[in-house]
C-alpha cells in the first residue's frame, strides 16, 4: 500500500482523519460518511468504489473541497482545509484541484479554448500565460485542432478529453475524477483511461470514483466504501 504516515515526517498529499458527514433534512439525519481515514500520497492513482449510496460522491466532494465534513480533520498538502471559508475553499479548489466529471460538464456557451481557459481566468493568470498553458494542454489531449469548436460540436470522448485538459490546465496537486467514463462507450472509455494513466505516469496524483472494474484496474490502490465507511483497501495491478 503506497501510504505515507505522519510519523515518517513526509506527510501525504491528502490526509483525512476520522471524517464524518451527516446530512440533516427535515428531522432526518443521514450519516453519509463515518470515521473515514484516508491518506493519498503525492503521485498516487487511487480509485474509490462502492455501491450506490455508499458515500463515494460525498467523499469526493469533501476531498475536492466542494463540501466540508461534519467532523474530522482534512489536510491538503499539509494544510488544514476542513474549516475554511467558502471563498478560501474556492481559491484552493482553483489552485490545487482539477475535476473531471462523468457528464463532462463543459460549458455549452464557451468554446473548447474558453472552457479550458476558465480556471486560469478565475485564478487571474495573465492572458499570454493563459494562452501558452491552454495551447499546451490542448495539444497534450490532442484537441488543438478543435479549439474554436463549441462543446455541442464534439463527440463524448472528445468532450471528456477537453474536460481532462481543463482539469490539468491549472497544474493542480490532485486530479479528482468522478466516473470519468460513465457516459462513454468502451473505445472512448479506454482512450480516456489511457490519458489518465499517462498523466499519472507524468507525476499527477489522481483520485477517481468509479464502479467500473475496467477502470479500477488503472489505479494503484482501490478503496471500497459501504454505508459510508471504508471497508477495504487493495493495491491493484495496474493495467499494462
Amino acid at each position: 500500500m503506497k501510504q505515507a504516515t505522519p510519523e515518517s515526517g513526509d506527510e501525504p498529499l491528502l490526509l483525512l482523519k476520522d471524517i464524518g458527514k451527516v446530512h440533516v433534512t427535515e428531522e432526518i439525519e443521514t450519516h453519509a460518511l463515518s470515521d473515514v481515514h484516508l491518506e493519498i500520497a503525492r503521485g498516487e492513482f487511487v480509485s474509490i468504489s462502492g455501491p450506490s449510496g455508499s458515500g463515494k460522491s460525498t467523499l469526493l466532494s469533501i476531498v475536492g473541497l466542494l463540501d466540508a465534513p461534519t467532523r474530522g480533520v482534512y489536510r491538503l498538502d499539509g494544510q488544514p482545509v476542513h474549516e475554511l471559508s467558502a471563498n478560501r475553499r474556492a481559491q484552493l479548489r482553483n489552485e490545487r484541484i482539477g475535476f473531471i466529471f462523468q457528464s463532462f460538464n463543459l460549458i455549452a456557451d464557451l468554446t473548447v479554448y474558453e472552457n479550458v481557459e476558465l480556471p486560469l481566468v478565475y485564478r487571474g493568470v495573465p492572458a499570454a500565460e493563459r494562452r501558452r498553458r491552454v495551447d499546451e494542454v490542448l495539444a497534450r489531449v490532442d484537441m488543438s485542432h478543435r479549439f474554436k469548436h463549441m462543446p455541442g460540436q464534439l463527440s463524448g470522448g472528445q468532450q471528456q478529453r477537453v474536460a481532462v485538459a481543463r482539469a490539468v490546465a491549472g497544474k493542480p496537486l490532485v486530479l479528482l475524477a468522478d466516473e470519468p467514463t460513465g457516459n462513454l462507450d468502451s473505445a472512448n472509455s479506454e482512450a480516456v483511461m489511457d490519458l489518465l494513466r499517462e498523466l499519472h505516469r507524468e507525476g499527477s496524483t489522481i483520485c477517481m470514483v468509479t464502479h467500473d472494474p475496467r477502470c479500477t484496474r488503472y489505479a494503484e490502490r482501490t478503496i471500497r466504501l459501504f454505508d459510508g465507511r471504508i471497508v477495504s483497501e487493495d493495491d491493484a495491478i495496474v493495467a499494462a
Binding site: 479548489r93 482553483n94 457528464s103 456557451d109
Partner: protein, 813 residues
C-alpha cells in the same frame, strides 16, 4: 478589464443563442424604460423644470396674497412700482403680463401671444438679444415709441430667419410697432405659455383690452420678478416685502387691506404656484404608476432569469467548482442582467420620443410653449441611466444570488429532468407574480378612478345647454373711432350673425363659457352694514350684450335680461346668479337691491337673477358671478356666443359673415362649445388615458408573467401530473389543479392591489370628482379585468398540462 470583457462576451453570446428569451426580456423592459423616460421628460419640464435664464436660483416671482381671496394673485403696476422702490437695495425688479392679439404685415394676419414687459425685463433676467437689441429702461416710459422683440421661433416661422427684420415696421392689431430684436432660441419668458413676442410696458394702454382699469391700484394684472443682489437671501427679501405690504396696506387701505406680497422660486412660477401642487401630485401619481410598469417588467425579467438560472445550475456549479467565488458568480450574472437592461434602455430611448410625443399631444389646447417642449436633455439621460442600472440590478440580483448559492455537488450528480419543488413555501417566482398582479391592479384602479371621474364630470349639469352652441373670438381693436364707434360696429356684427339662417340666437360676452381666467372684481352691497366683512372679495364679472342667457339656454329665475335700454339710458344695472344672491340674501329679495362695483363707485341695481352655471369647468363648486352690460365698460375683445341649429354648417357661416363686415373686425377660433367642455375635461381625461394605457401595459406584462410561471410550474410538476393522471385524474381535474394554483396567486395579488388602490384613491383626493370611497366601478373593473386575463394566462398552461402522457412523464422524470 479582461475579466469584464470576457463576462460581456459570454453574456452577449449567451443571449444571442437564446433569441426568444432575450427578445421577451428586452422588449418588455424597453417598453417600460421608454415609457418611464417619456413621462419623466415631461415631468422634468413641467414639474421639475427650471427657467432657462442665468442664475435662475437668484430670481423669485412675487405674488399678491389676499386674505379674502384664495390663491396667488397678480399685482397692480402701481403697487409694483412702490415695491420696486422699497426693495431696491435688495433686488432688481421687473414685471410682465400676457398679451393676445394679431400680428399684421404684408404676409397677412396671424394670432400671437406675447408678454407686455417692463423695460428692464431682459436686463433683470440677464437675457440678451441674439439679433438686434432688447428693451432698455426708457422703453418703460409711457409714450415711448412702441417697439417689439420677437421670439426666435416667430423670427424663423414668420420672417424666415431674415436678419433684416430688425427695424421693420409691423402692426399688432392697429398699433404699428418696430421690431428691434430677436431673443435667443429657447427663451420664451418665464412661464409655460408659448410666447411669440415681447412688447414694452410703455405700449400697454394701446395693446391691453382692460383700458378701463389702468391707473387703478386694485387692477391686479402684472407679474413681478425680482433678481436678488449677491449676498441677499430670500428671508431678507421676504422681510422687506412684509414691510412694504404693511406700508401699502395702511397708505392705500381701500385697495390693499388684507393683501400682502410674497415670493416663490421662479421655477414654481412656470406653471403657477396654485397649479403646482396638483401638478406635483399628478406627476407623482404618473411616475408611481409608470414605475409600477417598470417593476412589473422587472419582475417578468426576474422570473425568466430565475427559470434560466435553474436550467444553468450545472454551468454555474461547474464554474464554482473550477474556482469562481460566489461574488464572482454574482458579478457575472449581474453583468448579464445589466447588459440586457442596457440593450433595453437603448431600444427604450428610441421609443421615448414617440411615447413622449403621444403624451405631450394630450396637453390642453392653447398649447404650452414650444420652448418648453420636453427634450431628452442631460437630466433625462441621467434618469435613463439611473433606471437602467436599477432595473438591471432589480431583475438580476435575485437570480444572481440564487445562482451563487448553487449546490456545488450538482456536477457530481447525474443530470435529472426532475424539477420537483423541494419546499412547500411559496417560491420567489410565485411571489413575483403576486407582486405583478398587485401592481397591475393598482394601475388599473387608478385608470378606473380617473375614468369614472371623467364620466362624472362629463355627465354633470353645466347649467346651460352645450349642444348646438358655437363660440368665436372677436377682436374690434382695429375699429377706428371712439367707444360709440366700436359699439356700433359690435351691434352691426351681432345683427349680422343673428340674422344667419343657421343661427337661432347670438350674443356677445367678455369671456367664453368654461374657460379659465377672466375678470374678477370686488363689490360693496349698498344697503348692508355688515358688508365690511365681505369687502375685498373678488367676484367673477362678465360684460355681456342682451340675449346671452337665451343663447346659453341658462334659466332666468327672476327679473329680466339686459335690453336695449341698458346700452345707454340705464347702464347701472347688473344680473347675478343664485350663488351670489345666496351669499347676501339667502332668504331671497335680491332683486332691486343695489351693489357698487369698486372700480366705478357707481351703484348698480340687480335687475335679474339667473340659475347657476359652470364658469371654469364641470368640476368646480358653484361660483358667484355678476353680469354687467357691455356699455358699463366698453371693450374691444369679445366672445360671440351663438345658439345654432347645427355647428358644422353654422361655424363657416358665422366666420364668413363676420369676414364680410370689413377688415377692422376679425374673428378667430370659431369652435363648438363642446370643444370647451372637452378642454375643461383635460385633466381627468389625460389621467384616464395615461393610466389606462399604463394599466393595459401592466396587465399585459402581468399576464405574460402568470403564463410564464404557470408554464414553468407545469414543467416542474410534469412527473407529479403524470402520476395523478396514471391514478385516474381526468383532464378537467388536471386543469383545475393547475388553474387553482394560478388563481391562488392572482387572488393574493388582487387583494394586495385593492389595498394599494385604496391608498392611491386616498392620495388622489381632490383630483377625483364625485368618486366615492372604494369606487365599485374602478375597483370592480380592475378586479374583473385582472381576473379574466389571469384566467386566460393560466388556462393555456393548464390545457397543456392535460396533454401530458403519464408514461412518458414518469419515464422522462
Amino acid at each position: 478589464m479582461d475579466t469584464l470583457r470576457k463576462d460581456l462576451r459570454f453574456a452577449l453570446r449567451f443571449f444571442l443563442r437564446r433569441p426568444g428569451f432575450s427578445a421577451v426580456v428586452v422588449l418588455s423592459l424597453a417598453l417600460a424604460i421608454g415609457a418611464n423616460t417619456a413621462i419623466f421628460s415631461i415631468v422634468n419640464t413641467i414639474a421639475l423644470g427650471d427657467v432657462d435664464v442665468p442664475r435662475s436660483d437668484r430670481v423669485v416671482a412675487l405674488y399678491t396674497l389676499d386674505e379674502k381671496n384664495p390663491g396667488h394673485l397678480p399685482t397692480s403696476d402701481l403697487n409694483i412700482l412702490d415695491i420696486e422702490e422699497a426693495i431696491a437695495d435688495l433686488a432688481d425688479l421687473t414685471f410682465y403680463t400676457f398679451y393676445q392679439g394679431e400680428l399684421r404685415d404684408d404676409a397677412g394676419t396671424r394670432a400671437v401671444t406675447g408678454l407686455v414687459v417692463s423695460g428692464d425685463y431682459f436686463s433683470v433676467l440677464q437675457v440678451d438679444a441674439s439679433l438686434g437689441r432688447v428693451f432698455d429702461h426708457e422703453d418703460t416710459a409711457l409714450g415711448a415709441h412702441p417697439e417689439v422683440v420677437i421670439s426666435h421661433a416667430l423670427w424663423q416661422e414668420r420672417f424666415g430667419g431674415d436678419e433684416s427684420v430688425i427695424g421693420r415696421r409691423i402692426n399688432l392689431g392697429p398699433q404699428p410697432v418696430t421690431v428691434i430684436g430677436v431673443v435667443p432660441e429657447g427663451f420664451g419668458g418665464t412661464t409655460l405659455a408659448k410666447i411669440d413676442l415681447f412688447v414694452p410696458y410703455s405700449a400697454h394702454r394701446e395693446l391691453l383690452p382692460q383700458a378701463g382699469f389702468f391707473d387703478q391700484r386694485r387692477f391686479l394684472a402684472f407679474f413681478p420678478l425680482a433678481r436678488m443682489h449677491d449676498g441677499v437671501d430670500v428671508a431678507q427679501l421676504d422681510a422687506e416685502l412684509a414691510r412694504v405690504s404693511a406700508h401699502l396696506a395702511s397708505t392705500y387701505a381701500v385697495e390693499n387691506s388684507h393683501r400682502y406680497f410674497a415670493s416663490v422660486p421662479l421655477s414654481h412660477a412656470l406653471v403657477g404656484p396654485d397649479q403646482r401642487a396638483a401638478i406635483i401630485t399628478m406627476s407623482a401619481v404618473m411616475m408611481t404608476v409608470i414605475g409600477f410598469v417598470l417593476l412589473i417588467a422587472c419582475a417578468n425579467a426576474a422570473n425568466l432569469m430565475l427559470a434560466r438560472a435553474a436550467s444553468r445550475r450545472s454551468e454555474i456549479a461547474v464554474r464554482r467548482v473550477l474556482g469562481a467565488t460566489a461574488g464572482r458568480i454574482v458579478r457575472q450574472m449581474l453583468t448579464e442582467s445589466l447588459m440586457l437592461a442596457s440593450v433595453a434602455a437603448a431600444l427604450g430611448l428610441l421609443l421615448t420620443s414617440p411615447m413622449r410625443d403621444f403624451v405631450w399631444s394630450l396637453r390642453p389646447p392653447g398649447g404650452l410653449a414650444a420652448t418648453q417642449t420636453p427634450t431628452i436633455d442631460g437630466t433625462v439621460l441621467l434618469y435613463l441611466i439611473g433606471i437602467t442600472v436599477t432595473t438591471g440590478l432589480l431583475f438580476g440580483l435575485a437570480p444572481a444570488l440564487r445562482a451563487a448559492g448553487v449546490d456545488l455537488m450538482t456536477p457530481l450528480k447525474e443530470e435529472t429532468t426532475s424539477l420537483a419543488p423541494t419546499s412547500r413555501r411559496p417560491s420567489l417566482r410565485s411571489a413575483l407574480v403576486v407582486l405583478q398582479v398587485a401592481l397591475s391592479t393598482i394601475a388599473l384602479v387608478g385608470a378606473g378612478l380617473f375614468a369614472h371621474s371623467m364620466l362624472n364630470a362629463r355627465s354633470v349639469d353645466l347649467g346651460f345647454e352645450s349642444e348646438n352652441l358655437v363660440i368665436a373670438d372677436i377682436d374690434l381693436r382695429n375699429v377706428v373711432g371712439d367707444d360709440a364707434a366700436v359699439a356700433a360696429r359690435q351691434q352691426e356684427l351681432l345683427g349680422a350673425v343673428d340674422a344667419l339662417p343657421e343661427v337661432h340666437h347670438a350674443a356677445m360676452a367678455s369671456r367664453p363659457p368654461l374657460a379659465m381666467g377672466g375678470l374678477q372684481m370686488t363689490i360693496t352691497v349698498d344697503d348692508r352694514d355688515d358688508t365690511d366683512a365681505e369687502d375685498g372679495v373678488l367676484f367673477n364679472a362678465v360684460f355681456t350684450s342682451p340675449g346671452l342667457f337665451e343663447a346659453l339656454d341658462q334659466p332666468l329665475l327672476e327679473g329680466r335680461d339686459f335690453d336695449a335700454r341698458d346700452g345707454t339710458e340705464k347702464p347701472e344695472v347688473v344680473i347675478v346668479n343664485e350663488t351670489f344672491t345666496q351669499r347676501y340674501w339667502p332668504e331671497g329679495g335680491a332683486l332691486g337691491k343695489t351693489i357698487t362695483m369698486t372700480f366705478s363707485d357707481v351703484s348698480m341695481e340687480i335687475v335679474g337673477i339667473v340659475a347657476d352655471a359652470k364658469v371654469f369647468g364641470p368640476t368646480e363648486d358653484p361660483v358667484a358671478v355678476v353680469w354687467l352690460p357691455q356699455s358699463a365698460m366698453p371693450q374691444r375683445r369679445h366672445t360671440i356666443i351663438a345658439r345654432v341649429h347645427e355647428p358644422a354648417s353654422a361655424m363657416p357661416a358665422v366666420e364668413a359673415v363676420v369676414a364680410e363686415l370689413g377688415e377692422d373686425i376679425s374673428i378667430s377660433n370659431v369652435r363648438p362649445v363642446a370643444n370647451q367642455v372637452e378642454a375643461a375635461l383635460f385633466a381627468p381625461r389625460t389621467a384616464a388615458v395615461l393610466l389606462g394605457t399604463f394599466g393595459l401595459l401592466a396587465l399585459g406584462l402581468a399576464a405574460i408573467g402568470i403564463y410564464g410561471v404557470m408554464t414553468y410550474t407545469v414543467r416542474q410538476r410534469t412527473r407529479e401530473i403524470g402520476i395523478r393522471m396514471a391514478l385516474g385524474a381526468r383532464p378537467r381535474d388536471v386543469r383545475r389543479f393547475v388553474l387553482f394554483q394560478a388563481m391562488g396567486l392572482v387572488v393574493a395579488g388582487i387583494g394586495l392591489g385593492i389595498a394599494g388602490g385604496l391608498l392611491l384613491q386616498d392620495t388622489l383626493g381632490e383630483l377625483l370628482f364625485q368618486v366615492g370611497p372604494a369606487d365599485p366601478l374602478a375597483f370592480g373593473g380592475a378586479t374583473a379585468a385582472m381576473g379574466l386575463l389571469s384566467l386566460v394566462a393560466g388556462w393555456l398552461p393548464a390545457r397543456h398540462a392535460t396533454r401530458i402522457e403519464p408514461t412518458a412523464a414518469m419515464r422522462d422524470a
